[in-house]
Structures are given as C-alpha cells and as structure tokens.
C-alpha cells in the first residue's frame, strides 16, 4: 500500500521498506481520522437529541450498554491475543483462537460506532469538566488508533512489538473512554436498562 521512496537500484520491495516507512502512512491516516472526528465534534453544533434504539430507556443507557459491550469484547481481544502470543502458561492456542480474536474485535468496533456517532452528533466535543474533556480527546484518539491498527495488520515484515503495542494502545484508550462515560453513568445513576 505504501509507495516506497524511489530506490537508486532495484531491490525486492518487501525487504527494504523500513519499519518507519511502513508505519508512517497508516499513522498519518489514523491521525487524520482522529482530527476529523474532533473537528466535526467541535464545529458541528450539538443537537442534544438523536434517534434512539429500541429496547432501552434513553440514549444514555443505550450508549452505556453498547460501550460496556465493546469493552467486554475488547477484554476478549486482550485475552485471545495473550493466548495467541503464548503468554499464558500451560495454554496452547487452539485452532479457533484467531477467529475469536478477529470476530471479537469486529463486534467491539461495530458496537462502538453508534456510540461515537451519537456523541459527535448530539453532544459534540466538550471541555466543561475534566472527565468530559478526557472523554472527548480519547474518544477521537481511539478511532484514529483503531484505524492505524487495522491498516498495519496486513503488513508483512513488521517487528514483533508493533502489533502488541498498537493493540495495547487501542485497548487502553477504549478502557479510558468506558471509565469516563459508561462507568461514570452507571455509578452516578445506577445500573439500568
């Protein structure tokens, strides 16, 4: 996907593209995604209302449960990744662990998207207190970081630390988002549907 810098002599491309060169374009795209979300959230004047999803009492509860779902699947992500990398003693990776990792990630991401849309459309990027500011910033960063991870996943020949670091960053950002939103919501107003 990356166009490598023109080489003065012909060489196999896969070998000579440095780690930095492989990461730069995905990182730039991810940064643009985060920036675009933040700018939209800041510029668009929040409506305070948005469509609701059936079965829940309010947008706040819908978002809290969707975010909690995404976080649970993200925990599955970390667990399955640890198994795949052989970091859990006495556990050998079963055949289906790759599928579990991929699908838990896809579901977590798809659960997070409606939450983000509601945040951006109805509430916007806000900074009226610390929790809200952290949530706004990290919310934008999360989708940027996720984009980076998805774009570097298919790349071959990356150092072994790249994917674990990217995954850890994405997971950490999601947990911060959850703590500053759903956890705050449930602990303030009680756990309800």
């Amino acid at each position: 996907m990356t166009a490598p810098p023109t080489q003065p002599w012909p060489v196999p491309r896969e070998r000579t593209t440095s780690t930095a060169a492989k990461l730069i374009v995905p990182s730039l795209i991810g940064a643009l995604v985060a920036l675009a979300l933040g700018i939209y959230g800041r510029v668009h004047s929040p409506t305070g209302v948005a469509i609701n999803i059936a079965g829940f009492s309010s947008p706040g509860t819908v978002k809290s449960w969707l975010a909690t779902g995404a976080t649970v699947f993200a925990i599955v992500q970390v667990g399955s990744a640890l198994v795949m990398y052989g970091k859990i003693p006495r556990v050998t990776a079963p055949e289906w662990i790759g599928g579990l990792h991929k699908w838990s990630g896809r579901i977590a991401f798809l659960l997070a998207v409606p939450v983000a849309i509601h945040c951006l459309y109805a509430l916007g990027f806000q900074q009226y207190d610390t929790r809200v500011l952290i949530h706004s910033v990290v919310g934008c960063l999360f989708f940027g970081a996720f984009t980076v991870k998805m774009l570097i996943l298919p790349k071959r020949g990356l150092p072994g630390w790249v994917l674990p670091v990217a995954g850890a960053v994405v997971f950490t950002l999601l947990v911060v988002i959850w703590l500053t939103s759903a956890y705050w919501f449930f602990s303030t107003f009680g756990i309800k549907r």
Binding site: S45, P46, T47, G48, V49, A50, I51, S57, S58, P59, G60, T61, K102, G105, R106, F109, L110, V113, P114, A116, I117, H118, L120, Y121, A122, L123, Q126, Y128, D129, R131, V132, F146, T147, K149, M150, L151, L153, P154, F185, T188, F189, G190, K192
Partner: protein, 257 residues
C-alpha cells in the same frame, strides 16, 4: 484478498457510521426543536432568527441604557453586559446577576425580585448550593441547605460579596447578565425524580455562552455531581431515561420565585 479483511472491517464501520449519521440527521430536522420557554432568558432555536421575546419586564431598572438596545438585530456575539454600567439606582428591584467567583473556580448567579432573592453557586462538580433570602437596603442575606450562605451588597449593576457552600468559601463581584433576547445567559434549574430520589440541577450560563452546572443527587443536597450539559436551545438536559426540563430562575421575570 484475505490480507485485506482489517480494511473491510474499517470500511464497514465507517459505512455504519455514515448510515447512522444520515439516519439521525433525517430523524431530527432542525425545525423540530421544541418550543422554548417563554421567559426572557430562554434562547430561540439556533436555526431561526426568532422574533424579539416580548416578555422583558417593564420594571427593569438595572441598566436602563442597555436594556432598550435588546433588539433582534443585535449581534449575538457582542458581549452585552458592560462591567461598568452607567450610574443608576443602587437597589434595582428586579435584576439578574451572574459571573465567575474570585479565582475562577466556579460561578455564582443572583436573581433579585423585589425584596426577595435567589442565588446559586457551583463549581460544576461537587461544590454547589441554592440560597434564598431577603434584600434590604441593597444588602443580600441568603441561606440554604447544608449551611450554605451568601452575604452581598448591590451597587450600580454589580453584586459584591461572599458565598459559602459545602464548606467552600468564595468571594465574588458579578454584573447583570445580558438582556438581549438572543442570549440565554442566566440561572436555570431543573428537578426530577430518579429512582425515588428528587434530584435538582442548576446551571449558570454566562454571557459568553459558557455554562457550568451541578446536580444534587437527592433532596438533602449534601452530594452533588457534574450536571449534564444544558441544551439552551431546547432547555433540556438528559440523564439516563430522564429528560430534565430547565426553567429560568430570573428576578426580571419572577420565574422561579
């Protein structure tokens, strides 16, 4: 093709986002905003340059030179409340004051309606308090739950004094809020019953449209949290399954007294 599944995941997520955004936009046309409260401090819907609210109290006397300029053509971005208004009567009978406390750690709003006054101080989080009391010879003495108290005096469009809530002391000097019909600055309150508890939210909206609000989580008023954002266009705020409907607390109109 197998290598590109992460990209497909991304694109599916992006497509889902776009679909939801479009569906949301179609479901919430800007003209569908509920009618705002008729008080002078309620703001018109942002999409329509609303006609001038006609409920400005004729008795208003805090800033006679400024209040007559509250026309619909007035720029909504102009900071209207001049900090040094022309000398006038030292005891306005009806006026609303709001501003930040000394040090900027919170806001205070005072609504004076005849010989009565209501005040609210909050830091947008755990420190806040509602107070009521009397106005005598330009002196305010207000008290509230949990030993909240405010003592202040009114001079030429400014209220200066001290306020204490939840054990925190602030000194302040705040001016009258803008009376332009395009502004929503002022004090707002909302109450609701959530899980058997009466919660009460208060918001102070400044002339520059910044707002700060706290929410008492039960009737005792001992514990407060950050209030959800007040949408000044719809005068609502949402927490969980509860939509809080805010009403202005205004000495000018008498709302909330």
């Amino acid at each position: 093709m197998k290598r590109n599944t992460p990209l497909i995941t991304l694109l599916v997520g992006a497509a889902l986002g776009v679909i939801l955004l479009v569906a949301t936009m179609l479901a919430t046309p800007s003209s569908a905003l509920p009618a705002s409260y008729s008080a002078a401090t309620a703001s018109p819907a942002p999409s329509s340059p609303a006609p001038a609210e006609s409920s400005e109290a004729p008795e208003q006397s805090a800033e006679p030179s400024e209040s007559s300029a509250a026309t619909p053509g007035q720029s909504s971005t102009a900071p209207a409340a001049a900090p040094s208004p022309a000398p006038t009567r030292t005891t306005p009978t009806r006026a609303d004051f709001a501003g930040r406390v000394g040090g900027g750690g919170g806001s205070v709003a005072v609504a004076v309606h005849g010989d009565k006054a209501i005040a609210y101080v909050c830091n947008g989080s755990t420190v806040e308090g509602w107070m009521r009391g009397k106005v005598e010879n330009g002196k305010l003495t207000l008290t509230g739950k949990n030993k909240a108290k405010l003592t202040a005096s009114i001079h030429t469009g400014t209220v200066t004094g001290d306020v204490e809530a939840h054990g925190t002391d602030y000194s302040f000097s705040v001016s009258t809020v803008s009376k332009s019909s395009s502004k929503s600055s002022g004090l707002y309150q909302a109450t609701a019953v959530v899980q058997g508890k009466t919660i009460k939210a208060g918001w102070i909206v400044q002339d520059d449209d910044t707002q700060i609000g706290s929410l008492e989580i039960d009737e005792s008023g001992r514990t407060a949290v950050t209030a959800p954002k007040l949408d000044v266009a719809t005068m609502t705020a949402r927490i969980g399954n509860v939509v809080l409907h805010a009403v202005p607390v205004s000495g000018v109109t008498g709302s909330g007294f």
